[in-house]
Symmetry: C2
Subunit: 434 residues, 2 copies
């Protein structure tokens, strides 16, 4: 993409309303603009990142055996009356009345709708286990939306729901999501750790939050240092026994907030790490809370009806854009992990209008691939081009000017390390196209 044609309204000034670094950088780098309190328009650069994150989440959900569908944003209030949550949910639920005076709401989550889909479609234990997910916009009417996409009102979430015949099977479904989450966050370039979380009235040990470590994180976590070095499983057989993987991750102490255990922390001595983190996912065993209230049963092997056991599994997709920036930036701007970068390379023309430089850039642009390159062909000062390219944080920069070309070289810059080297055009291509 040529920057002269790209809709990328960066800001020179730091917007006063933005209190945290990801919010500031998302506005400054032209990723999004606020539409109303806690509601954003995703501009092309931010949208591209959002889509890349979504696609990685999708691939890992599919790999783990979950199936994608799509539930509507607007839901019927009647289902929430069935589950008993319509009155309980409080003011965060955006309640709506349609032209026929029927009560609707903008879904803040989807347990009721998916349970209704399940009971309408599934009859036999032979159709279990089943894990259904969607990636859809949600709305929670936060009393004080803030921190940009980290605590917005309209936000994109992946939520999966598992249905099983019994607790053993439900635990396997839970473990599948646990492992899929480890892999998802690793592919996003994040260091994420699972923390045991409150299970509420359902009890048991099947509730984990996934926390991305970032110095600017919202909450303090403490954990065994070895957790930070653990390798994420590859080539997983999701039909096989995943318990050993889950045990290896949950066997090491890790906690935040109300789950802290002073004795366990003290016992770790020097291996205890305290850090800050951002919650980006939560997996949760639901038991029969919704299936009982809403009559989600199947015919069991013996012909008798069985109320199914459920789990729910969320990932904050739009929140992840902010979380990645919190975890990966410097004083110059964003540093995108390669897997989510909106473009792989930023190509900087130091002298737009100079025939030789334009020609060299045009060749690089074509050979690197216009979809993978953002080519700064604007008639701007070099300093402004450098600052903008650092701000938007593409993994690689190729800097092309008349002086270098006279020597037969271009400059290759690694955004993360800041390392620059002069290389021939061909060797830049070899490095970047691979």
């Amino acid at each position: 993409m040529r920057l002269s044609r790209y809709f990328l309204p960066t800001l020179k000034e730091t917007p006063a309303e933005a209190q945290i670094v990801s919010h500031r950088l998302m506005l400054r780098a032209g990723l999004m603009r606020q539409h109303a309190a806690g509601i954003y328009t995703w501009l092309p650069l931010g949208f591209a990142v959002l889509k890349r994150i979504e696609q990685i989440v999708r691939e890992e959900q599919n790999r783990a055996g979950a199936q994608e569908l799509l539930m509507s944003t607007i839901q019927s209030a009647d289902l929430w009356r069935e589950s008993g949550r319509y009155d309980d949910y409080g003011k965060e639920m955006l309640r709506i009345r349609d032209r026929h005076e029927r009560d609707l709401l903008y879904g803040p989550t989807n347990e009721e709708v998916i349970t209704d889909v399940f009971r309408g479609c599934v009859r036999s234990y032979k159709d279990l286990p089943l894990n259904l997910y969607h990636i859809q916009w949600k709305f929670r009417d936060e009393v004080r939306p803030r921190f940009g996409v980290m605590r917005g009102r309209e936000f994109l979430m992946k939520d999966a729901y598992s249905f099983d015949l019994d607790l053993d099977s439900a635990r396997h479904s839970y473990n599948q999501m646990f492992v899929a989450y480890l892999r998802t966050f690793a592919r996003l370039g994040l260091k994420a750790i699972p923390l045991r979380a409150e299970t509420g009235p359902i009890g048991g040990d099947l509730s984990h939050e996934f926390i991305v470590l970032a110095d600017t994180g919202e909450s303090e976590v403490e954990c065994h240092g070895a957790l930070l070095e653990k390798a994420v499983p590859e080539g997983v057989d999701y039909d096989g026994d995943l318990q050993p993987v889950v045990d290896a991750w949950t066997g090491l102490y890790a906690a935040a907030d109300e789950m802290r255990d002073a004795a366990a922390a003290d016992a770790l001595g020097d291996t205890l790490v305290r850090a800050r983190g951002i919650e980006v996912g939560h997996i949760f065993h639901l038991g029969k809370k919704y299936s009982e209230a809403m009559g989600a049963t199947v015919t069991g092997p013996d012909g008798e009806p069985v109320t199914v056991t459920m789990g729910c599994y969320g990932i904050g997709v739009s929140r992840l854009v902010g979380a990645i920036i919190e975890a990966s930036h410097d004083e110059h701007g964003i540093i995108w992990p390669a897997s989510v970068a909106p473009f792989h390379v930023g190509l900087i023309n130091l002298k737009t209008g100079d025939a030789a430089t334009d020609a060299a850039c045009a060749t690089l642009y074509e050979r690197l691939g216009p979809d993978r390159v953002l080519y700064d062909d604007r008639d701007e000062r070099a300093g402004a081009k450098f600052a903008d390219m650092d701000l938007i944080g593409l993994p690689w920069q190729v800097i092309v000017g008349p002086k270098g070309l006279a020597k037969g070289v271009v400059e290759l810059k690694d955004r993360a390390s800041g390392a620059r080297e002069e290389v021939s055009t061909e060797s830049a291509l070899a490095r970047l196209v691979g």
Copy 2:
């Protein structure tokens, strides 16, 4: 995908509430379920089709130079007060009040929001022309939602908005979308024709509806027969002059409803075709209606402010799922065009449990590619498998049974023509993997 694991709740009975064939088939083939009046859950098979359509629309928008972003579903009422449409829009607008008693609405369209984004981000004529689009859910509170996704309340739409300095440039932006629409519908396997549409108070000739021809279509159209045979342009240079292409398509008589011209129709004699059709797209020159009301100006070449000229361009993405079915089905079910088919091949195992048949199917499944094949490995009667596979309408079926295998053949069936032939496994693979 193995059908034994796939969430595909087909229906044997035709649902009574479904009045048109696409609605009936979408329910029967397990593409979607109704959640509330005019609001649907897209099940995995329907979701896959929706995503394929969306991707083709996206590719052709990008090719024509439009840039994708994403506006929220929930909009501020204040912007609609600025444009004057908040009070005019009537009961189809879903109006919402949040916890702080601020007026919001679920966007039925996005002229106000995009104009607000534009005026907040663009300062100079040098940033024009600009065409921004998104693919987002909309809500229109239809008084009587019906016909399934053809007239739903929550629906997915691609809407693009162009911004130009003057009318000549705006006409070029319009022509870009005109040509992109021709290409989009052709890639979707549809015969679509552009019809001149009402321009309302803005006047001029820059308003066209795109109608998909289907015997079961909602409205009657008449046109010059040559329009039905016209080749859609390939290898288009969207920066070049597109007027000759547009003229070639608009120079032939075509009209529906209030735009009919009895004299023009009579003059065509035998070359006049009458057919039924479904509206799937609409492109429209907006002039300065929104830019004037909302102050969307740029600094012109002479330093003076210029109010920009706009256009808007819609495609009903979720509606297209229904329109494609209306245009392409038979008494047995859906016939998906290859470009939007959820799977390319349906693999039917005639004797699940028979070792040789299972092994042959497993090999075909792997070599055809599990993402491209729906493998009916269920323990069901052959007749039920045939009926289900015809119902869901994948382009090809490969039918594998012990008798054929003993002769060294499988059966290859073309869903559209119904033609069947016995071929060797290798030649089936050669045909289907290509």
